[in-house]
Amino acid sequence: MKKIAGLFVALLLVFGLLAGCVSQQGAGGNSNSSKDGKDEAGGGDGKIKIAVVPKLIGIPYFNASEKGAIQAGKDLGVEVIYTGPTEADAAQQVKVIEDLISQDVDVIAVAPNDAAALSPVLQKAKDKGIIVMDWDTPADQSLVELSVHQIDDEAYGRHIAKSLVEQMGTEEGEIAILTGGLAAANLNSWIDAAKKELEENYPGIKLVTDKIATDEKQQVAYQKTLDLIKSYPNLKGIMAFSTPAPLGAAQAIQEKGLQDKIAVVGTALPKDSAPFLEDGSLDVAILWEPDKLGYLTVALAKDLVDGKKPENGQNIDGVGEVEVWEDGKTVIMGPPTDFTKDNAKDYDF
């Protein structure tokens, strides 16, 4: 009985503490913001420091963008810190950004794993006078100065759908969609655009099932594709979103020898997809060039520090012309690149 009483008292104390403190927060929060103002005056040494934070480090896609970002740093004479979480975990990413704030960087450009999770920490960065922007994936738009997109999501989704129909060689038949994760905002907007394209222009194409999640893993995509082939023997095409998914799908097609029967189109890196493009198990890989995206991010970040905003049609050295939307915030790098068996070998990412 004593034990239970002890536990109960303990619980009560926890609640008591929680409840007691919240009321005191109003005052606490205020005095803190005044402290922030003081900090802002300090910091700032000669070289501009630009921090580029990917969703995670150590995967080919973000390694390629790191290369571009570092190169831009060298070309433009700014210090580039390219660091991110080792897992695609929002909590880890928040910590990385908190540490960057302590380092007195001038710009933080982030590709959020979860936009909402980053809002408080990005607000903190902004309060300290750090310029906040996003790249690759949008963050909370009320906090960022610039939003660098690799692609126009709508056009990209439609392009993928169109390419698939082209590769199928017919405007009728059953198709399926694989995706990295059900929650990924960018993947979802591409898929929605692709679906719209099919509905509007190719009424003969039938989607056999809802989009299938593959957990950003090639192995899972492979397994799910095998299941699809079994469940839908008349399947003619697969659209695979997220970089590992097309590879897994192509692997399954290759193993079953269905290269000519089922067309696979997806968002994959050329180096990974080259072996599958070679024998037609993957028909086209459609993506942008992530190294250019890294380069562009750093270039625009430096411009922001210098007080320059990007303009529509502006030519960025090493990237090309960029499109800027009317809000003056959203920057589109350019049209997607089709990687086929003819050109895939020319890229080293």
Partner: protein
């Protein structure tokens, strides 16, 4: 005169202090108020998971479902508060859901007797599935501004509220483990369940409470995390799972059970935090930070092992001479 002994915990404490001094000297900006508050904000959630894990490991078990328990509790809080329930109801609801998760683990482990690693592996997948089916993989936000103060606010404008909650829980855990009948039974069950059973300890009751307590701490961690990140998602804090095991073990907790102290875990969490923040400030790439943490973990475990062996030998010699 009482001799100052170099217990595992004291060694760790010295390492922690040494590390702090070393970092303060060699890392520019380590002592800045910004970095210090940063560390205080980052430590609580990790520390709570580590404590929760430690209590379970002391019984010779492990709780792999801990981060998903937290995520599920967070989802409950998010749903309740986005539906307009007052904050206190939402928090209580979250804790209730967390306790339910703990009860499930506890019931299967303590009453049915399945091994903890299997049970919690199962419940981990189960909770993950539950969250996925509720959230469809999306993140839920929509917490009230007052709620976000729990994780982001300062107590008296100086010390982060979350670290006060954490210290409070740490002290509470220490008192519960050392001063209550339940706490002493936890160690007994951990070191020898058969012996404890025959000494009149109700093993299954003790175990049940251990899993409930660990789930409670996970739920508190969840409150801090959801309010800090203003969102909850299926993988909320998933990277803490193995880190919390590592921290508990680094803190001197015996993985076979029977030994483990709150203060040791606290030191371990502080060491991890200082290394992570310090090396990040120095601009060391994250993978290298992870490598260094691994090396330190292994080194400390080896030192502990050697020390235990040495003590055993000394005692043997003493026994021989006597």
């Amino acid at each position: 005169m009482k001799q100052v002994t170099l217990s595992k915990e004291n060694i760790l404490g010295l390492i922690a202090i040494g590390l702090f001094v070393l970092m303060s000297i060699s890392v520019p900006g380590f002592l800045s108020s910004n970095n210090l508050t940063n560390m205080m904000f980052q430590l609580p959630e990790f520390g709570l998971f580590a404590l929760a894990m430690m209590v379970v490991i002391v019984t010779g078990g492990i709780d792999l479902s801990i981060t998903y328990t937290a995520a599920l509790a967070g989802v409950a809080i998010a749903i309740l508060s986005s539906n307009g329930y007052p904050m206190i109801i939402a928090i209580l609801g979250g804790i209730a859901v967390g306790l339910l998760c703990g009860f499930m683990n506890g019931f299967i482990i303590a009453k049915i007797g399945v091994s903890p690693i299997l049970v919690t592996l199962g419940t981990m997948v189960l909770f993950e599935g539950l969250i996925l089916s509720i959230t469809k993989g999306n993140s839920i936000s929509g917490f009230s501004p007052e709620y976000t103060l729990i994780g982001n606010g300062y107590y008296l404008g100086l010390i982060p509220l979350s670290i006060i909650i954490f210290l409070f829980v740490a002290i509470l855990t220490s008192v519960l483990l050392n001063k209550t009948v339940w706490g002493r039974s936890v160690y007994m069950v951990g070191s020898n369940p058969v012996a404890s059973l025959f000494s009149g300890v109700n093993n299954s009751k003790v175990l049940m409470k251990v899993y409930l307590y660990s789930a409670l701490l996970a739920a508190i961690a969840s409150i801090i995390m959801t309010s800090r990140y203003n969102t909850v998602k299926v993988d909320l804090g998933s990277s803490y799972l193995l880190q919390s095991v590592a921290a508990a073990v680094l803190g001197g907790t015996e993985i076979q059970g029977g030994y483990g102290k709150v203060i040791g875990t606290l030191y371990a969490v502080m060491i991890f935090q200082m290394i992570s923040s310090g090396l990040n400030l120095m601009g060391v790439p994250r993978p290298i930070v992870t490598v260094i943490m691994g090396v330190i973990l292994i080194a400390v475990l080896i030192i502990n092992f050697i020390k235990v062996k040495a003590d055993e030998n000394k005692q043997k010699k003493l026994a021989e001479t006597a």
